[in-house]
Symmetry: C2
Subunit: 168 residues, 2 copies
């Protein structure tokens, strides 16, 4: 039927536009994170809106980038446990998918950064031998804040674990 063929194509195109917009927008957001080039965000975006594993060659085609850039971005996502490799039986290709725990892993990694700030303040407080000055008051406030943030981040990890339980 002609009607059908005419109708489906534009729909598909619109969906592709939405996905491409998402990929580029995520690229910009991720670029706002240190040591996260835009390409990392774009590859992450591709994995998020893909309906199955993607090879690096497919990512290169979708993003019109070099294989080198895709490989580097892929490594970053694997290192950060945002992406996962999956084998494709009967093929020497390696598929990439979004890690099932990508966001939980992101949260987990964030905790160590927050701890660095908390520990730095605490360590300096100890060096200053608890004298009572504006400086030590500042450091105590700094430490209290980052300890509080860490606590909340741990609660988010628990939230993930409860979610997972509910799914099963």
């Amino acid at each position: 039927m002609q009607d059908n063929a005419v109708k489906v194509s534009p729909d598909d195109a619109r969906i592709d536009d939405a996905r491409m917009e998402f990929i580029e927008a995520l690229g910009f957001l991720v670029e706002g994170i240190r040591w996260m080039p835009r390409m990392v965000g774009r590859v992450l975006g591709c994995l998020l809106v893909a309906d199955g594993p993607l090879t690096q060659a497919e990512l290169r085609d979708q993003l019109d980038a070099s294989l080198g850039a895709v490989s580097t971005a892929t490594r970053t996502l694997l290192d950060k446990r945002f992406a996962l490799r999956v084998g494709i039986p009967g093929s020497r290709q390696t598929g990439l998918i979004i890690h099932p725990d990508a966001w939980r892993n992101m949260e987990e990694d964030g905790i160590s950064g927050v701890q660095s700030y908390a520990n730095l303040a605490l360590h300096t407080l100890q060096e200053l031998e608890d004298e009572d000055s504006p400086a030590t008051a500042n450091l105590r406030k700094m430490n209290a804040y980052f300890v509080e943030v860490e606590q909340r981040m741990r609660e988010i990890l628990q939230w993930f674990d409860e979610q997972k339980k509910l799914e099963q």
Copy 2:
């Protein structure tokens, strides 16, 4: 008394070392944030371990940096509401101190970043017209995560407000 004079001086030196270490360490931590040069962290560090307002000239001396770099870092800290200007009566100098709500302001700013991620996922979901695919499942998980984080960050703002009430 000689004993006193001999004893106090090394103590002071040790304290200064501790402060300088703090300043440099915070420089490195802050350098880990996009669009935050190390100098911003160092100036922030100076303000945190200072026992009173500092002028830009004093910051330059402590950090052995150029006035230009100090001025730019100062502007960044003022824009982000990490630092506050205080007038010094009878002087044309402007003092800089750590903002009393520095960490609360940091948290507040962080929320808009998290919202960007949540909104991007939601917007793309709407564009994809709630089809039921792996892609939309990914986007729903992404949105749920960032909404959850936003909620926790708002709780931290409340925690700050409660703290402030207790202080008074």
